[in-house]
Amino acid sequence: WVTFGGVNMSGGTRLENANPVIFQRSGERLLTATDEDEDVHDPIDDREIFDILSINDPEHPLSLEELNVVEQVRVKVSDAESTVGIEFTPTIPHCSMATLIGLSIKVKLLRSLPDRFKIDVHITPGTHASEEAVNKQLADKERVAAALENSSLLEVVNQCLSTRSI
């Protein structure tokens, strides 16, 4: 069962996120005939970006998808205008990892998308206590660049981006 678009878990009912609600992963994207047709141009779409973002939560051995941090409905991409917008939902409103999750998403997209794309990553409105501050940090190119100079921070980000080994 795909639970996207379902009711978002309100953080108020849980005291901490040591034991998060786990959401089922959506199935593999189905291959269509046009996917294999050499002559057809496949635009980059929401699902493709969403699939790229199947990255690990720094606190849990689970992907952001399974934690419902990233949902496909909150991914907006326009190949023609070269823009990507992601809203992510921290597991609890006071999640201290929100900045790190946002940074990981941003780095992943920087590495995976062509240069022409303008990437905007921010928190789903109304789901985090310090939403504005985090959004501001993530939007600031220089601060992101500086953060990635910090090798211990980069280490955590890279760990999030390592392929899941099960």
Binding site: D35, V40, D42, I44, D51, V157, N158, Q159, L161
Partner: protein
């Protein structure tokens, strides 16, 4: 005599005072041998039995008991009576004496000459005088012995005595015994009288059994034994119903799973004994509990136990005989069930649909009356619901419902009234896109058809529907069950359908009819009827009387092939194929060929000869004989419609007309499918004609078939007969008289059987690579050499195929290939690369990995493969990439040395015009990122730069690979990465 009695006295003395247990045996032996009687023994014991010490008395009794145990058979009735009186008297004595007394009594119960009334008196004394639990054992013995009605006289007193004696028992051994006794009491029909409730109480207090045997329990009593035994007691009599049913309802509320399970199983067991009047007042309570267990089920076991209980309950109610004034409790009960379940079936919320359906299904399966009541209540609303809703999830629920419907069909014929609407529902379900729904609908249809006599009409209307595959399968399943009905009804119907539908628009219907014919033909009888219809299609296509399309003719051929594959291997079907079908097909082909009608003759490419089955093979030899004489001598006598000219040389080239020469593909099918044990007649002549044909004919199908046929025969030919044949062949080859593909066919025939002459042939084949015109074709030929052959040279056609022939070829010839490559002029090198990549690509993957590093010329071979990457031919690039990829997972050191060349050649391929090359090269680049870090780190920046471009590839599949590869390369040498 005096000596005997002295001996006896001494034996007694030694046993009683001397405590020598072995003396009991000696005494018993004396009694058996007639040295002394039991009465003498009692007399001799006199002193010890009257001793003031209870232990001495006990010892005395014990001796007597042990002797009795050995020789109870020889006692007279009088003696037994005296002994029983003696023992009963002893029971009143000191408690230490009780165990040997019981032992003696037990021995006495085994006597065949037990005097009348003694069992009763024995039990009376037991209940009166013995207060320990041990006596149960004895009771049981008495009991088992007494099969007569004697103990019943004791009646309620006995039951009471028993109840008292087992009250409060905790030892599992005694409990098991007590349950056994209680079970006997119940099963032998003892009058329980006013103690029914007591007996129930004293046993039911253990329900549900909660017992875990201690580890290394010497008695090995399991929980299951106790549970089963107790269940037999509780469920044993309807007299317990009024006590047991409330108890079960109460225990079902328990949170302990095992208690619930036990309760449900006990319920299932007990209702088989009960009548409706026993159940009447508890029905509502039972239903509430059962419903709760199924609706809120926590475990599958509980659920299925609950459903089984419901079935048992319903079947009990259905079975009961009604009085004129009693109400029909089945109706009452089913009303309850329906009231609670029906609305769930119609609710948009699907949560309870499935459990409700299961409950209804369980109730349905109990009896045909129940099934009738439920079906007539539920069906109309189900069908209405189906008709009114189309949403996907509703369909899903309907799928479940129809599953349920299917289960329901088995018990009865009550559905006749619903059949029309049900059929329409099933058919419309068949047209839906949901696959599982279709499957369900088909299986419903199957069961429906089994029920009704009119499968004919239902299947025919399926023909019109879109989903034929599932229906055709269903037809197949049905035909196996009802061959007679199919022959009588469906085949004529289909035949009419095929003949009637002439318009182009009905082509599809005709093809479906033919595949239905094929599907149903598994029984010999059906085959006899169905194949003429298909042959008729072919022959009317030939005469042109009906406008059959090419696809239909092919469909007819495929249908015949399918029949040959699936039909039962019997004498009858074998004859049908070899005496009727094959001659007919040959005749049709020959007619078309002689008329020079190439369009009509094309069907012969699809004719297929059965190659398996005992009877088929036996007859195949005869068919081969006829076919060979047809092709070599022009013998047409065995063909039907025999109006052919008498001398036709089918293997002779006749000008440009290849309409006749192509008939060789029929010969190929016929002789090459024979097992090696069957001799092909006129082999030498056949081979030489085939050889000539494959060299001289210009029509591709003809010379390829001739070469394949030649190859097939050579592959099976005995070793010695080949040499002269092949030397001649090699001569042809050297002079390029053969078409290249034919050469490879023959070479393959030899390679497969490891023939020594193959080496000579290989050299010729490699030399072809240097030829300006034939080189590219030869390179392609190696792919044919290494791949599985679909028609002739495979195990299905009984060809001689050795295992691992590919590996063998590779290890023997890779060196030659490398040599040839090095020696070849620049413009010929691509041929070698192509051949190499064709060969390596067909090797099993694990061989590629293990074989490459062990080859001595590995370095060269690798550089050859790398060279092949820069070959402009995309096919070569792709096959080289696909053989490189598994090697890269575990790279040999030699490869790491050539890393620069590898990366340098892989990166440009990521912008190849071919999508598959781009994907494969990106995968390889991904694999390289996992090489030892210090080796690949120098390439990081370069690779990352190069991979930026495929991130914007126009194909998504390429981008996905690029994203993954680039992510790995980013992690390389970065903190937290690799």
């Amino acid at each position: 005599m005096a000596a005997d009695s002295a001996l006896l006295l001494s034996l007694v003395e030694e046993y009683v005072s001397g405590l020598q247990d072995s003396k009991a045996k000696d005494t018993a032996k004396g009694v058996k041998d007639g040295q002394f009687t039991v009465l003498q023994l009692v007399e001799a014991l006199g002193l010890s039995l009257t001793s003031s010490q209870p232990h001495t008395r006990a010892r005395g009794v014990q001796l007597l008991s042990e002797v009795l145990q050995e020789c109870y058979g020889g006692l007279t009735e009088r003696e037994v009576e005296v002994l029983i009186a003696f023992y009963e008297n002893r029971l009143k004595d000191h408690y230490v004496i009780t165990p040997p007394v019981l032992q003696g009594l037990r021995a006495l119960t085994k006597c065949t000459v037990l005097p009348p009334g003694s069992a009763v008196s024995m039990l009376r004394s037991l209940f009166q005088d013995v207060h320990v639990q041990v006596r149960l054992d004895t009771v049981n013995c008495v009991f088992l012995f007494d099969s007569s009605t004697e103990l019943k006289g004791l009646g309620a007193d006995f039951v009471f005595g028993f109840v008292q004696s087992m009250d409060g028992e905790r030892d599992p051994r005694n409990l098991l015994l007590a349950f056994q006794v209680a079970k006997n009491i119940i099963h032998r029909g003892y009058d329980l009288g006013k103690f029914t409730e007591e007996l129930f109480e004293v046993t039911s207090c253990y329900f549900p059994i909660n017992f875990t045997p201690p580890p290394n329990d010497p008695h090995s009593i399991t929980r299951e034994e106790l549970v089963q035994m107790l269940r037999d007691v509780l469920a044993g009599t309807p007299q317990f119903a009024e006590f047991l049913l409330p108890l079960i309802i109460e225990k079902l509320d328990s949170d302990v799973l095992s208690a619930k399970l036990d309760s449900l199983q006990t319920l299932t067991a007990c209702v088989s004994q009960y009548e409706h009047k026993d159940l009447a007042e508890f029905l509502e309570g039972l239903w509430v509990s059962l419903r709760r267990e199924v609706f809120q089920t926590s475990s599958e076991k509980i659920e299925s136990a609950g459903l089984a209980a419901l079935t048992a309950l319903t079947s009990c109610l259905s079975r009961s005989v009604l009085n004129s004034d009693s109400e029909d409790s089945l109706c009452t009960f089913l009303d309850l069930v329906l009231k609670d379940c029906r609305h769930h079936l119609c609710e948009p919320d699907l949560k309870l649909v499935w459990p409700s359906a299961k409950l209804l299904q369980a109730a349905c399966s109990a009896s045909s009356r129940a099934s009738h009541i439920i079906t007539s209540a539920v069906m109309p609303s189900l069908i209405e619901q189906y008709n009114s809703k189309t949403e996907v999830n509703v369909l899903l629920s309907l799928e479940r419902k129809s599953n349920w419907v299917q289960g329901e069909f088995r018990p009865s014929l009550v559905f006749l009234a619903f059949r029309p609407s049900l059929c329409s529902m099933v058919f419309s379900a068949l047209t839906e896109t949901n696959a599982s729904l279709q499957i369900t609908a088909t299986s419903v249809l199957t069961s429906l058809a089994q029920q009704t006599g009119e499968m004919n009409s239902s299947i025919h209307s399926c023909q019109q529907s879109q989903i034929c595959l599932a229906v055709v399968e269903c037809v197949g399943a049905l035909a196996e069950l009802h061959p007679a009905a199919f022959i009588a009804k469906l085949i004529p119907r289909l035949k009419k359908e095929i003949e009637a539908s002439e318009q182009q628009s009905l082509q599809a219907v005709r093809q479906r009819c033919m595949s239905a014919l094929a599907a149903m033909s598994t029984q010999p009888g059906v085959v006899q009827e169905s194949t003429p219809v298909l042959l008729e299609v072919l022959s009317s296509a030939h005469t042109g009387s009906v406008g059959f399309s090419v696809e239909e003719v092919v469909a007819a051929c495929h249908s015949l092939q399918r029949i040959a594959e699936q039909v039962q291997d019997t004498e009858e079907t074998g004859r049908c194929f070899h005496d009727v079908i094959i001659p007919r097909l040959l005749s049709l082909a020959l007619q078309a060929a002689l008329q020079g009608d190439t369009v009509r003759a094309f069907f012969m490419r699809f004719v297929w000869f059965p190659s398996g089955g005992f009877h088929f093979i036996r007859l195949a030899g005869q068919t081969a004989l006829k076919a060979v004489s047809l092709f070599l001598d022009g013998d047409v006598s065995f063909l039907p419609d025999n109006s052919f000219p008498s001398h036709i040389g089918l293997l002779k080239q006749q000008g440009d007309s290849w309409s006749q020469s192509q008939m060789v593909c029929l010969l190929m099918g016929c002789v090459c499918s024979l097992p090696r044990s069957v001799e092909v007649p006129q082999m030498d002549q056949l081979l030489s004609q085939l050889e000539e044909m494959s060299c001289t004919c210009s029509h591709p199908l003809s010379y390829t078939s001739a070469a394949k046929c030649f190859a097939g025969l050579v592959n099976k030919r005995a070793q010695g007969q080949l040499v002269s044949l092949l030397s001649c062949y090699i001569f042809y080859l050297t002079n390029f008289l053969f078409p290249v593909s034919s050469c490879f066919q023959v070479a393959k025939a030899l390679l497969l059987r490891y023939h020594p002459l193959f080496t000579a042939l290989t050299d010729k084949l490699f030399s072809l690579l240097d030829d300006a015109d034939l080189g590219p074709m030869a390179a392609d030929g190696f792919s044919l050499l290494m791949s599985d052959s679909p028609d002739v040279l495979n195990r299905g056609c009984h060809a001689d195929v050795r295992i691992m022939y590919r590996q063998r070829f590779f290890s023997e010839n890779s060196a030659k290939l490398v040599q040839g490559f090095n020696a070849a002029p620049q413009e010929k090198k691509p041929n070698y690369l192509k051949a190499l990549s064709n060969i390596v690509n067909k090797l099993p993957k694990q061989v590629q990995v293990t074989e490459l590093p062990t080859a001595s010329h590995l370095q060269i071979l690798l550089s050859l493969l790398l060279e092949a990457l820069s070959c402009p031919d995309r096919g070569v690039q792709l096959s080289t990439l696909s053989c490189l990829e598994p090697v890269l997972v575990d790279p040999p050191p030699a490869l790491i040395q050539q890393l620069e060349a590898l990366v340098g050649r892989l990166l440009p391929l990521t912008s190849s015009p071919s999508m598959n090359v781009r994907i494969a090269s990106l995968r390889c680049i991904h694999a390289v990122s996992l090489f030892p870090v210090h080796e690949v780190l120098p390439f990081r920046a370069r690779v990352l730069r190069a991979l930026a471009r495929p991130l914007d590839d126009k194909k998504r599949l390429v981008r996905i690979e690029a994203v993954q590869a680039r992510a790995e390369w980013f992690l390389l040498g970065s903190p937290g990465g690799r």
